[in-house]
């Protein structure tokens, strides 16, 4: 969309401009099951605007080569664009320096990098790692692997029936053995926004470093690493209008510097002999091999796009969608919302009495509606609510209230079918 005027006026998203925003996303014009696509699986992966698609095409047709290698025109151009994307991300999350931005394949790899580079070096036998019951498997399994390897112990922050972490219990978990806190900023299964700034400050008061899994937060709210003060922050490109295969690990420079490399290879070295290798400085130390150059540049373009819309506009509009959908769902008999935290992103996990979520998903698909069904890679959350799976509608700034109406209408018809 043309947003030169919008940018300056910081225009809110509403009925008057939502069609123009939707027109930026070619895939939203798709027909599925011969019906207009209603894409409500944004927490799994968001869609890509034309500006990002164009950036990919431009890069591949006019700029591509390997980076940090040769002296020729294309290599220098690709390197410049790749590093410019790093700076865009630095500014987007308000990191102090661009060398605190490590490109990874995604949130999962970012967390694994910290587990290997920090955890294996600084967490040992009997040490304790605190996680929350809300975590995605990507922020559980790496720490479990580390705990098994080192003889460390995982401690889990519980939650209440609304899906909010119990802060008193969280604080009570800390002791002299606590060495790390790994916490989701926003729950992918429930949408809960955790009070991560307060929790980070508490961990720091015990000298404990903090990693935040920001996969579900980065696309939906403005981020400020100086304000959050976390030590590590991980997120993925494909959940914020960028491509798959690219993610980010932010880390405070002094921690990244004392960490071991995650992978060995080209680009992460200063010199190599068979006797000794001298590692490169950060961020290169953590970026062995040829990175996903195109994807990094495209993520930069996605950040430009989101920034032009304005993260606060996005958050406000998505909150409106959430309130609207929550109101509609609450009014339906036989439908239970799972996750009713007072502070949420636009994620609605739900259960229809007597209907398995997978049947809901299949039948909605027949109406062109894409939702996620299953355990959302968060089995401990499912166990906590005593359900095998949920259906989840997750909204983005390009969704509309009309789409929510369609969802609600189809859920009513599913109920009739199964009654």
């Amino acid at each position: 969309m043309k947003i030169e005027t919008m940018q300056n006026e910081c225009v809110r998203i509403d009925d008057s401009n939502i069609d123009r925003i939707r027109a930026d996303f070619p895939i939203l014009a798709l027909q599925v099951s011969a019906k207009p696509l209603v894409y409500l699986d944004n927490a799994a992966s968001s869609q890509m605007p034309q500006a990002v698609i164009d950036r990919i095409v431009d890069y591949q047709t006019q700029e591509h080569s390997n980076i940090h290698r040769a002296v020729h025109y294309l290599s220098e151009l690709a390197t410049k664009e790749f590093e410019a994307a790093r700076v865009k991300i630095q500014k987007f999350i308000k990191a102090k320096e661009s060398r605190e931005i490590i490109f990874t394949r995604g949130t999962t790899e970012s967390i694994n990098l910290v587990m290997h580079g920090y955890g294996r070096a600084f967490i040992g036998e009997g040490d304790e790692i605190i996680l929350s019951v809300l975590e995605h498997h990507a922020n559980i399994v790496p720490w479990q692997m580390l705990a098994q390897e080192k003889g460390a112990v995982l401690r889990v922050i519980p939650m209440n029936d609304a899906g909010e972490l119990l802060i008193d219990e969280f604080e009570a978990l800390f002791n002299e053995k606590t060495k790390f806190l790994a916490l989701s900023h926003v729950s992918n299964a429930l949408g809960t926004i955790n009070p991560v700034k307060q929790m980070t400050a508490f961990a720091h008061s015990h000298g404990v470093p903090v990693l935040l899994d920001g996969a579900q937060a980065a696309p939906h709210q403005a981020l400020d690493m100086q304000d959050l003060d976390c030590d590590f922050y991980a997120f993925s490109g494909h959940k914020m209008c960028g491509p798959t295969g690219i993610g980010v690990l932010y880390g405070k420079a002094h921690l990244l510097e004392k960490m071991k490399p995650y992978q060995g290879g080209g680009d992460m070295i200063l010199s190599v002999t068979f006797k000794k290798t001298v590692y490169n400085v950060i961020p290169a130390k953590f970026e062995a091999g040829t990175p996903p150059i195109m994807a990094a540049i495209a993520l930069g373009a996605a950040i430009d796009y989101l920034s032009e819309l304005g993260l606060s506009n996005i958050a406000a509009y998505e909150h409106e969608l959430l309130e609207y959908a929550t109101g509609k769902f609450s009014a339906m008999a036989g439908v239970r919302i799972i996750g009713t935290a007072s502070n949420k992103v636009a994620v609605l996990s739900f259960e229809i009495e007597g209907v398995h979520p997978h049947d809901v998903g299949t039948i909605l698909n027949g109406e062109g509606i894409a939702i996620r069904t299953g355990h959302h890679c968060a089995q401990p959350v499912m166990d906590r609510f005593n359900v095998p799976a949920t259906a989840r509608a997750s909204f983005a700034f390009y969704n509309t209230k009309q789409e929510i109406d369609k969802l609600v209408d189809c859920i009513r018809r599913v109920q009739e079918m199964f009654s």
Binding site: S33, V355, H356, P357, H358, D359, T362, I363, G366, E367, T373, G374, H375, M382, P388, A389, C410, R413, M417, F418
Partner: protein, 159 residues
Amino acid sequence: MTDMRQLYQEVILDHNRKPRNYGAIPDANRHADGHNPLCGDHIKMSMNVLDDKIADIAFEGHGCAICKASASMMTGAVKGKSVQDAETMVEEFRGMATGTLDPENADHHLGKLKIFAGVKDLPSRVKCAILPWHTLHAALNAEASISTEGEADPVSDHA
């Protein structure tokens, strides 16, 4: 909803609401557990095989309508059948659900079970329909538990 009605026919919805042969046989001589990690479907099957015949069979557990209806109709279809005949039906059902057996144009013994032919167009749901049959096969072959994520699954994991 018209297209989905092809699969979610009244017969399937009825078996989902009121599954037949539901429960556990206390003195069963064959058991197996079937698990579909994608959906969380979980089927426990128990049966008595006497003189090479399935004398009695029951299932319990939780799952989606496709899985439950498939289990319910399967138990009705194989009760009283020989082990060999039941195994033939396992193969035929698997073929139908994965699209290698066209129930309209090939010989088979599936009878009313051909109502499940539509799952072949829903790759993520094929495993739901097949799970009870895998579990039956496991019980007949004295395998205590199977998972549709295991090697025994002919269908891609990434559905």
